[in-house]
């Protein structure tokens, strides 16, 4: 029986690797079902559920937060995003990083005993920012 080699990889490591007879993935322009000998395809994924039927009849589901899907006739590779993201979240994160830099660099060329205090301030600000980001992502 024809089968597919399915690899789901994320930056942090491999999520799944195995043989499959059918893969259904949430592509950017609608859900796609991929059976063996599918035409080579490269597409973006949106956040959603991936359903996989393995060669031994098992049904697996994975949640992907977006990414890229690559299909070759005998293999499917998913480059999955693990980080939560959207246009707004990306912009907010960038703004936070800028603010953190500005806050910690304020009065950079002043006296040396101020430095330690500022270093602590920077650390506190970074921690606060981190918590805020965590809270932010929990709401979504």
């Amino acid at each position: 029986m024809a089968e597919l080699q399915l690899d789901i990889v994320a930056n942090e490591g491999e999520i799944h690797s195995g043989k499959a007879v059918m893969v259904v993935a949430p592509a950017a322009q609608g859900e796609v079902g991929i059976a063996p000998r599918h035409a080579p395809l490269l597409t973006a994924l949106k956040p959603g559920e991936m359903r996989v039927e393995t060669t031994d009849g098992q049904r697996l589901t994975f949640f992907v937060g977006g990414g890229i899907l690559e299909v070759q006739p005998d293999r499917v590779s998913v480059l999955a995003d693990t980080a939560l993201r959207s246009e707004d979240a990306d912009e907010a994160a960038a703004a936070e990083a800028k603010r953190a830099a500005e806050a910690s660099m304020e009065g950079a060329e002043s006296e040396s005993d101020l430095e330690r205090a500022q270093a602590e301030l920077a650390a506190a600000a970074a921690r606060l920012e981190f918590v805020r980001k965590l809270k932010g992502s929990a709401h979504k």
């Binding site: 930056n11 080579p40 990083a97 830099a101």
Partner: protein
């Protein structure tokens, strides 16, 4: 007797220091193993990403993505990957040294230099030195996640797209082996797909169906590609940090051992001198009585 006592106190204090450095060495050793594992785990994604990047770039050669646009260089951004904690040998220093020589070259050419920083050591350094820092993130920890560094990456790519910087370099430590780490500079933006012959399978005899079109896919692919480069560098830096710390702490423990040996010798000599003196006094006293 007081000299001997003083030396004994010193030996105790060095021994305590040695205990700490030994413990740190052991901790770094076990953390290093995990960090190396994490480094290996990031490889499949990075490898695949590079392949996809090559494909898409080749398929949309007549379209230039904003993040791939070459411009005359007037402003440069350095994205520095440093550690959050010290006591890891010359790891961060090597990175700063590398950047400073580059910075001097750019200053001579009249090119503006700005920085984006990952890791609190970098932030502390540039606070002392001064300089324009456009974005920073600290506290990435032993398990760096994409979420934590996304802010800095987005700030850098946004500044490139808006034309506020014309070139971005990624400065990070390369893990050569446990004993050796090397500071390296790599171009991050404009993004360039590495040479195509690195692909292992298939070749370019056939092409994909791109959905949506290749140029549109480019947006996602380039962004992910850049992110993957940064993530790989950060994870590699974490492995470098642990191995550098392990080596530094081993050297510190060895040095402490040497100092203890020397002190022990001095202590024994002082004790012996004391005994000899006491004996001489007793003998002298006995001779005076007779």
């Amino acid at each position: 007797m007081s000299a001997a006592k003083e030396i004994r106190g010193k030996i105790k204090s060095v021994q305590n220091t040695q205990k700490i450095t030994r413990a740190m060495e052991k901790v770094a050793m076990s953390k290093m193993r995990k960090a190396q594992e994490r480094m290996a785990q990031a490889r499949p994604y990075a490898h695949k990403m590079t392949e996809v990047m090559q494909r898409v770039a080749a398929a949309s050669s007549d379209y230039t993505h904003p993040l791939m646009a070459e411009r005359p260089v007037k402003r440069v951004t350095y994205l520095l990957v440093t550690t959050d904690r010290g006591l890891c040998g010359g790891l961060n220093i090597n990175i700063f040294r590398k950047v400073l020589t580059e910075m001097k070259r750019h200053r001579d050419e009249g090119v503006e230099v700005q920085f984006a920083l990952l890791g609190s050591k970098g932030l502390a350094y540039f606070k002392r030195l001064g300089g324009k820092v456009i974005a920073s993130a600290t506290g990435l920890g032993d398990k760096p996640t994409m979420q934590d560094m996304l802010g800095v990456i987005n700030a850098v790519t946004a500044s490139y797209e808006q034309g506020e910087t014309d070139r971005v370099y990624l400065v990070s430590s390369k893990f050569v082996n446990t004993m050796t780490q090397k500071a390296e500079i790599a171009q991050l933006l404009p993004a360039k797909a590495p040479e195509a012959e690195m692909t292992t399978e298939g070749g370019f005899g056939w092409d994909y169906i791109y959905e949506p079109s290749a140029p549109e896919l480019m947006d996602t692919v380039v962004q992910r590609y850049v992110e993957s480069l940064v993530y790989t560098a950060v994870v590699e830096n974490a492995a470098c940090e642990q191995s550098a710390r392990m080596v530094a702490m081993k050297a510190a423990s060895d040095n402490a051992g040497k100092i203890i040996d020397d002190l022990q010798l001095a202590y024994n000599k002082a004790r012996q001198a004391n005994i000899t003196k006491e004996l001489a006094e007793i003998v002298g006293g006995a001779a005076a009585i007779e």
